[in-house]
Symmetry: C2
Subunit: 250 residues, 2 copies
């Protein structure tokens, strides 16, 4: 109930192993049974990404275990994995909580994002295919529709898909994962700062520019435009944080 699972398609690391008999050639290796710990972690990941937790909110092991009807063991595993990933924090007494966002943290994450996503853009540029362009245009269409429909949940998912479609083209799985972690770190704050609005509605023009750069396979422009996108979102969030501080919201 609380932990509503959205589908931010996660980059996977498991490759298919080949080598079967002739008639069974078309078989794919059976999908690995997901452990409870993994399932819990993905649920939490989606909830964090969707901003369903308040900054500073405590996530007690037992509460998570109860909410998802599992024992303490997988709940604890999931929480601490997210801590290790940087998405959550542990307080001195061991309690896991959603990290607070201050301006310093936001600035740091923004700088890291510009570097990491810039690198992904540069590396992806020479590998960008016409198929990807159509996919991006398609995603952007849906994104605009979602924006007009004020469906900000879908909007956020589509924004994710838009950006990671490019980053995946770089074929740098470790890099993708790091970028993902960065998104998780800021994802927590979107809904808090914008209970009613999305953060990317101003970014649609920038998305058009990104698509142009992808079409042209212009690495420099692509990187610059993505950096602009990140910076814009960062400035926006920073302003929100400042407002919040002035208003004394807590």
């Amino acid at each position: 109930m609380i932990y509503d699972a959205n589908d931010f398609p996660r980059t996977t690391f498991r490759e298919a192993k080949t080598g079967m008999s002739s008639t069974l050639e078309s078989f794919r290796p059976v999908e690995r049974k997901e452990t409870l710990g993994t399932l819990v972690r993905e649920q939490l990941r989606s909830a964090i990404m969707a901003g369903q937790f308040m900054p500073g909110e405590k996530l007690t092991i037992r509460a998570v275990a109860k909410a998802l009807d599992v024992s303490l063991t997988p709940a604890r595993e999931a929480l601490f994995n997210l801590v290790a990933e940087g998405a959550l924090e542990t307080q001195p007494n061991g309690t896991v909580c959603v990290p607070e966002m201050d301006e310093n943290r936001l600035i740091e994450i923004t700088k890291i994002r510009i570097n990491l996503e810039g690198l992904a853009a540069r590396e992806a540029a020479p590998r960008l295919s016409p198929e990807l362009v159509t996919k991006l245009e398609d995603t952007n269409e849906k994104l605009i529709e979602a924006d007009e429909a004020r469906d900000y949940t879908a909007l956020r998912t589509l924004n994710w898909q838009f950006h990671f479609a490019i980053y995946e083209a770089a074929e740098m799985p470790l890099l993708s994962r790091m970028i993902e972690s960065c998104w998780l770190m800021i994802g927590s704050y979107l809904n808090v700062l914008y209970p009613d609005y999305g953060q990317v509605n101003v970014g649609i023009d920038i998305h058009r520019e990104i698509i142009k750069a992808v079409k042209a396979r212009d690495a420099e422009k692509l990187e610059a435009t993505i950096a602009l996108d990140i910076r814009t979102a960062g400035d926006w969030l920073a302003e929100m944080i400042r407002k919040r501080a002035v208003n004394g919201a807590d």
Copy 2:
């Protein structure tokens, strides 16, 4: 015995919360009691960093638990936290193992490192103090001594301290942590590829250049020199991997 703890000083994330009475101003928050899971994780981290595990080596939960004389719970927690951090991997059946290093992976990590550590260098540049310069010179002295004494364990620790002294100056804890993860990912291979040699002995000249740049607070030169350092190490490792592939070592 197997899991020999070296001291790669870990960047910590627990900031001191201020707001004490005047006389107790100088007090530091009491050191958090380490949990078994944390201790196991740090032991494993040191062992990985020191390259004490072979690439592909399986780390079974029970073996770790037995070696450190703890139950399965903290051993499992430690292993999976390192997986979440990217230092270890899980096989399809859930077994945790040290990731294999191929050239693609090495190239990817090297690119990421150049970006991340370059960012840290740029950000650190304006904050570099004369005290840091002396510290770096001191560390480099010891490093040269360790190199001459062929004490490659000490050498690696000192190399770590040298680089992270600069990165810490950037005061970007999240960035430091990401860089740390990168070092962990390549650390595993150093001893395997160089059972008898260190990898930084050629880097001492570069270190001198780094110190020069730090003295001059020249952000561009610092970044470029660090990039050179990373690239040099990467090329060296890549060559080793190729040799190993030809020799068919496994």
